[in-house]
């Protein structure tokens, strides 16, 4: 049904960002406006989620130009879940960055750009038009370029070059795929494409177009051969920025991949095989990369790469339960990865370093914080009953039904290595006696007043509680993700919601 409400999460961020530009260089005002804006958008996202959960599909035609000619916005349960997660993590990172981002960076426009980034993310989740999706991706990457290099320190701009180059390359691939798709069908509306794809005689070209989309989204979500930009850039910006990048930016690539490969293309056995092999290699290279790193944030960056493999493997298996597992993993991963980088920022504030050889003694000095951090770390590993455990049941189970043994092996090795590196990190950072810590004069954290500390710790607590909720009330997320998987594999209601009730029938009778 048509409902203009669904555009509000986009408008909310846009309004906040524009408002923030009027308060350029007024740091405190910006902090307050930004937090209020994020809070409001989170409220709107919750509203949107409830609406779509009841109605199933909401659509809006921009400028009232009917689909497939105008630009369509569609909210189904999947996209509204993603918007909800963006709302939660956006709010958490926003509160964290009021203290975690330095005054200079805020003066150079951190908050407006941050809201533009979230605007782009929300837009990408709601886009019902493939070219519109491209435009939202560009909004996301241009904002992320600025955030990545804001401050202009040497490692930041050097990592920035790799990030910018590979993302631009991905955009060109995406655009090339759109060009071929338009040449094949003469349409850009995803629901309309879904109907027209089956009528194309040249199946080989369709397959290649699909794989071009896969390369474009694959670079953005850091899958196997083209992931190296991620570990060499994600540890350079401040932790709050790395948190929103690690939590959401790679996942929007996976979201787009799921959309394109359920609505427009249906993977044939060859494509599935490509996905499965690349997923396995992503899992292994990410895991082994994480093993070698002694810098905490670099290790976490490799773990992002590693865990993208789980998501891609789920898409590659392409059964209802595997997709449900992927969606569940996506929900878990967004919350936990964001929190992981926030935690690493807190550790940096306390100790002033990210090197695990130098870190130590956290447990002795901050026992309660350590307990909080342990929730985050062990959710990531997936120790039952924490949140990482449940989606893996789906994914492991489906490797049996589809016979993807090498994927199962890769998943088990990746899980084991994740457990190993997290346990080793825990031992090094929290239990080991710190080396040279007694000489350190400044501990930024203990010098802060309780308000500032609260601003840093509350978001971590908030996200940790969310991941505990996912862990202990896994049944609810199960129901949600199975419903989403069901919607994804049966796109007819989606098409009917966009194009009108008789669109599917007419195309079948033709």
């Amino acid at each position: 049904m048509t409902d203009r409400y669904l555009i509000l999460p986009i408008i909310g961020h846009m309004f906040t960002a524009v408002l923030l530009i009027f308060f350029w260089r007024k740091v405190n005002t910006q902090r307050i406006i930004s937090v209020l804006g994020s809070l409001a958008v989170m409220g709107l996202s919750v509203g949107l989620f409830i609406k779509t959960y009841r109605a199933g599909y909401l659509t809006m035609q921009a400028g009232n130009w009917q689909a497939p000619f105008g630009i369509t916005f569609v909210a189904d349960v999947f996209s509204s879940t993603m918007i909800l997660l963006t709302g939660f993590t956006g709010l958490a990172v926003c509160v964290y960055s009021t203290v975690g981002i330095s005054r200079q960076r805020i003066q150079y426009g951190f908050f407006p750009i941050f809201h533009f980034l979230l605007l782009g993310l929300n837009g990408a989740f709601l886009a019902g038009d493939i070219f519109n999706l491209y435009v939202w991706f560009e909004v996301i990457i241009i904002s992320s370029f600025v955030l990545m290099t804001l401050g202009g320190r040497k490692p930041q701009v050097e990592g920035g070059i790799k990030y910018v180059t590979l993302n631009l390359l991905a955009s060109v691939m995406f655009l090339t795929a759109i060009a071929i798709l338009y040449g094949l069908t003469g349409s850009l509306n995803m629901a309309d494409l879904s109907l027209k794809m089956s009528a194309i005689p040249n199946k080989g070209l369709v397959e290649i177009t699909g794989l071009l989309f896969f390369i474009g989204f694959g670079i953005k979500s850091a899958v196997f051969p083209l992931y190296f930009w991620l570990p060499s850039s994600y540890h350079t910006p401040p932790s709050a920025i790395a948190a929103i990048f690690g939590g959401l930016l790679t996942k929007v690539g996976i979201y787009a991949l799921i959309r394109v490969y359920t609505l427009i293309f249906v993977p044939d056995p060859f494509t599935k095989q490509v996905f499965l092999v690349i997923a396995s290699l992503t899992l292994l290279t990410g895991a082994f990369g994480a093993l070698t790193k002694r810098n905490m944030r670099m290790m976490f960056s490799y773990l992002i790469v590693c865990h993208i493999g789980f998501l891609l493997g789920g898409i590659g298996m392409y059964t209802r339960l595997a997709l449900a597992g992927t969606v569940f993993y996506l929900v878990h991963d967004i919350i936990v990865k964001t929190n992981l980088f926030l935690v690493s920022g807190l550790i940096y504030k306390i100790r002033g370093t990210m090197n695990m050889d130098e870190l130590g003694g956290m447990y002795e000095d901050y026992p309660r914080l350590s307990l909080l951090f342990s929730v985050v770390f062990f959710s990531l590993v997936g120790i039952p009953p924490l949140s990482g455990f449940w989606p893996k049941i789906y994914l492991f189970r489906e490797t049996f039904t589809t016979g993807a043994w090498y994927l199962l092996a890769a998943m088990i090795i990746a899980s084991l290595v994740t457990l190993y590196v997290m346990a080793k990190m825990w031992g090094d950072v929290f239990w080991k006696k710190g080396q040279g810590m007694e000489n350190k004069l400044t501990d930024d954290f203990s010098g802060m007043n309780w308000k500032k500390r609260g601003m840093l710790i509350t978001p971590v607590v908030f996200l940790a509680v969310l991941s505990l909720y996912i862990g202990f009330f896994a049944q609810r997320i199960n129901v949600l993700s199975e419903r989403i998987a069901n919607d994804l594999l049966h796109p007819e209601p989606y098409i009917q919601a966009v194009l009108g009730a008789d669109a599917v029938k007419t195309s079948q009778s033709e």
């Binding site: 990457i141 370029f145 990592g159 070059i161 631009l168 060109v172 338009y182 540890h235 002694r294 090197n355």
Partner: protein, 117 residues
């Protein structure tokens, strides 16, 4: 015409990728620009080329009739050009900044983030 465009697009993509694989930062940038232009030309070509038939409704007609040029690819290209213009401007500033910081044009020297702890 189509064949000419096809060869041109091939050359743009090939030189773009080739330049991106060089070690110089300026050549990397040139590669990105060429690649972007190649993609735009591809949209133009695949949208179907129709000569001398603009999609304008005549004074006496109510709707477009006959064969006419598809306006959608051109609006797509326009959007893509504007976007890539912004991104390229950002990339140029970034490269200039990097050059000012490390005094070299060689991409192989950009290893601070990988080696620093």
């Amino acid at each position: 015409m189509e064949l000419l465009l096809l060869i041109l697009i091939g050359i743009l993509y090939a030189t773009g990728i080739f330049m991106m694989l060089r070690r110089s930062m300026v050549k990397l940038l040139i590669g990105l620009i060429l690649l972007g232009n190649g993609a735009n030309m591809l949209i133009f070509l695949l949208g179907g080329i129709t000569r001398g038939k603009p999609p304008i409704i005549g004074e006496t007609d109510k709707v477009l009739t006959g064969v006419y040029a598809d306006p959608v690819p051109q609006s797509l290209i326009l959007t893509a050009i504007v976007i890539s213009f912004g991104l390229q401007a950002f990339a140029i500033v970034l490269l200039k900044r990097v050059h000012a910081l490390i005094q070299t044009d060689d991409l192989n020297d950009l290893n601070t983030p990988d080696t620093s702890i």
